[in-house]
Amino acid sequence: MLSHFKLRARIGALATLASALALSACATTGGSGDPASASDKSDDKAFAATPAGDPVFASTYKPYPNIATAIRGATIYDGKGGKIENGVVFMSGGKITSVGGPDTPIPADIAVFDGTGKFVTPGIIDIHSHLGDYPSPGVEAHSDGNEATAPTTPEVWAEHSVWPQDPGFSRALANGGITALQILPGSANLMGGRSVTLKNVPARTMQGMKFPGAPYSMKMACGENPKRVYGSRGRMPSTRMGNLAVNRETWLGAIDYANDPKAKRDLGKETLVGVLKGEILIQNHCYRADEMALVLDMAKEMGYKVAAFHHAVEAYKIGDLLRENDVCSAIWADWYGFKMESYDGILENAAFLQREGACVVIHSDDQNDIQRLNQEAAKAQAAGARVGIDIPDATVIQWLTYNAAKAMGISDMTGSLETGKMADVVLWNGDPLSVYSRPEKVWIDGALMFDAMNPKTRPVSDFELGQPGEGDVK
């Protein structure tokens, strides 16, 4: 069974420290002989970083070249619960131009794919991934997902850990139809840092994948992980009550900071204030129903909102409460029993939430499951059907598309097939809720980024070059 909380051995960290010391020694030696740096200091112009709030590490992603393309004859799930039989999707200029029935006009002389017997969905979106910050190969040197040195680290940004050469991105694209994903810090900390939302395109830099205009989220974690990691070091928190106390003290500090116009810049508090202002969303790892209820009250006390509870295996116990608070539950279909707080996981979680009218998102937290979110959703749907909760296929697809986009703050740009939205589209070779179906083609902003019929469209990361299986079907 997988442990979804990864804390690698500390020997690796020590080795890194040693080499960092060696490096800084070299830099000092080199710098001392450079008079220019000394004279800069005596200049009368003030030193200043760019103002807080200015874009930094900004996205350089641009949609790749696309040609006007239409798919006709397919069954279309629009991502917002709609279904069109024998439908047409037309995309041009990187956007969805039209979606409709068989009579939808298709311009002459554009690429048209026959979707007969096939299915079209919006690009699949994973709200919870560690691709890039726990990349493959998962060696200690790549363990960049948990800044597990203090229980609250709102100052760290997951994007600074993302290794764009993680081969996992390409598997998620080719086998999972993933077009956008949120990379989160791990759950060792109560406040793990900022997330980053990526377009699932190969790139040389993180900035080349960064989703333009996507808001940041901050990762928080309830329960076992923070109290275990810090309690085992004799530090607070070592209990669930300690978890809440540290969280509340931290929020109070952020409120003071927000009210103090003279406060020195503080990266962690900037993140927290962003949350209080509603500019940064909260993605809260939280398994147990009772702890989710505590978090919702803490959020009311401090004046922020939770976008989604992640790994919410007990969400089904409080579907009413989650609906009333307009919080999504990002869940697995069948993970259970691997840690104490997952003991009450049941297959009906998603269906029971849907019954209450609460928001369901199917997530992965896993480099393998991200390749099969459609199958996970199908399991959850079937479990509901067995207890008389019939959830239409089109609604189930919404769990992987629009709902995920909504909880990530990007639903005005992607997550559904609507005119003017990004042309993030998957053509499946069969019913996407069947184990027997796979993505045949995947478009991101209208560019055909994967085509199962063309081996040269399999992305190969730098790491894979010259290795066994380079360019193989994966």
């Binding site: 009413d320 840690k339 297959l347 399991k379 067995r386 184990v435 290795q467 079907v473």
Partner: protein, 438 residues
């Protein structure tokens, strides 16, 4: 017990749920034998005295004497799934150390560890997986303090007092990165440790008695406790299977080469992510593989060649391939993996398995590798009466068993999860808190 005489076409309803094996006939089934063949419409399964006496399409006029007739109504009926390698029954919650018997880092013992002594037949994992159609499993500790995991057992999942069908069915070791780490930090250390261990075991072959009465030559710089060395005697003499977990092409070859030094070893490869690169060599050696089904990432440097087509390519080369449950989130995903292997047959450039072969890779093939060939994972005369009726195609992700029989006994499919499901079928607490709802 009233006996019924029926023909395949005449179906009489009879309700009875005794907790002992009864004769039964399942009619009108979409029948899967489990031997690699395609499903058979209108199939019949007859179980007598806990064993299968007939499975197939009856000849017209054929009659059976039976206690119970079950009309499958066209539903899929299969043998129980056989899961290997698992840790079923060895932990309640793997991350809760107190409940976890899968690893034993602090023990002075290694090869002598016997999983059969630790199995809890009423573990929720066993109950949950029985409800998922798994009726038998190979269960084993995992290597922790040594390259040796200890001796695994073949179990049934009926939750009764005797879960163990065969204790000490196999020894398991890791000779890849994991084994290297546990042997001191190098694959060379793992191989040296294995060879010294086998040598000590060989020195004990044919000797009997308690440790005080037989001796290993002290010149051999004995590494193992006497108890561990004795546990390896059946391995070195080929009486107990040796499961070797490896992933990398070179490591696979190194394992196959062990046969030249120790010809009696009865080897089984486990994991084998890069097996497709040496599929012909594995096939030629006649060594079966319990393969990771869908791993396609270089998650370690020993899995650089990972592809979902691995199992299909090995099978095509003639390797006996079962799907490894141990690499999955939970063993009930075996059906999903098998379904994905079928899906791969439709993907250009990929290798998968046809439906019947994919089903066999989670039923008769793992059973045969586990020494249960013809007894489990298959509906043939003489096999155990493990029969599962499904809500749909058993390789489709939404399908679950509607009835499970183990050795002819219908199983109660209730478990912690179904009880939670029943309690939270609504959130109504207007009368009483949920704690009163049971």
């Amino acid at each position: 017990m009233k006996r019924l005489l029926i023909t395949a076409a005449s179906v009489l309803a009879l309700t009875a749920a005794p907790a002992f094996a009864q004769d039964m006939v399942v009619t009108n089934a979409k029948l899967v034998i489990g031997d690699g063949g395609a499903p058979i419409e209108g199939g019949v399964v007859i179980v007598d005295d806990g064993k299968v006496v007939f499975a197939g399409v009856p000849t017209p006029g054929q009659t059976f004497s039976t206690d119970v007739v079950i009309d499958a109504g066209g539903a899929w009926v299969t043998p129980g799934l056989f899961a290997t390698v698992t840790t079923l029954g060895l932990a309640d919650v793997s991350a809760v150390d107190e409940s976890n018997d899968i690893t034993a880092r602090e023990t002075p013992f290694s090869a002598a560890l016997d999983a059969a002594t630790a199995i809890n037949p009423t573990s929720q994992h066993i109950l949950v997986h029985k409800a998922a159609g798994i009726t038998r499993a190979a269960t084993s500790m995992m290597p922790s303090g040594s390259i040796f995991a200890g001796q695994g057992a073949i179990i049934d999942l009926d939750g009764d007092a005797q879960p163990v069908m065969q204790a000490r069915a196999f020894q398991m070791i890791n000779l890849g990165e994991g084994g290297a780490d546990r042997a001191g930090g190098s694959r060379a250390a793992a191989h040296a440790l294995l060879r010294s261990a086998l040598r000590e075991a060989q020195a004990l072959v044919g000797k009997s008695g308690i440790p005080e009465t037989t001796e290993i030559g002290k010149d051999d710089e004995v590494f193992l406790s006497r108890f561990d060395a004795e546990a390896l005697v059946p391995v070195v003499t080929g009486k107990q299977k040796l499961y070797v977990a490896v992933e990398r092409m070179a490591d696979i070859r190194a394992v196959l080469a062990l046969k030249t030094e120790y010809p009696k070893l009865d080897l089984v490869l486990v994991g084998v992510t890069e097996g497709w690169l040496v599929a012909n060599e594995i096939a030629a050696a006649g060594v079966p593989v319990i393969a990771n089904g869908l791993n396609d990432l270089p998650e370690t440097f020993e899995q650089l060649g990972a592809t979902q087509s691995n199992a299909g390519r090995m099978a095509k080369a003639g390797v006996t391939v079962a799907i490894n449950a141990e690499s999955l989130q939970n063993p009930r995903r075996l059906q999903q993996v098998a379904g994905n292997l079928v899906a791969l047959t439709r993907m250009p450039g990929a290798s998968g398995m046809e439906w019947g072969k994919a089903f066999a890779a989670i039923s008769s093939v793992p059973a045969a590798i586990s020494g249960m060939g013809g007894k489990a994972g298959v509906l043939k005369p003489g096999a155990l009466g493990d029969v599962v009726m499904w809500s749909g195609d058993p390789l489709e992700v939404g399908s679950v068993p509607t009835k499970v029989f183990i050795a002819g006994v219908e199983q109660d499919l209730t478990n912690h999860q179904t009880r939670l499901r029943d309690r939270y079928i609504d959130l109504d607490e207007s009368d009483r808190p949920k704690a009163y709802d049971w």
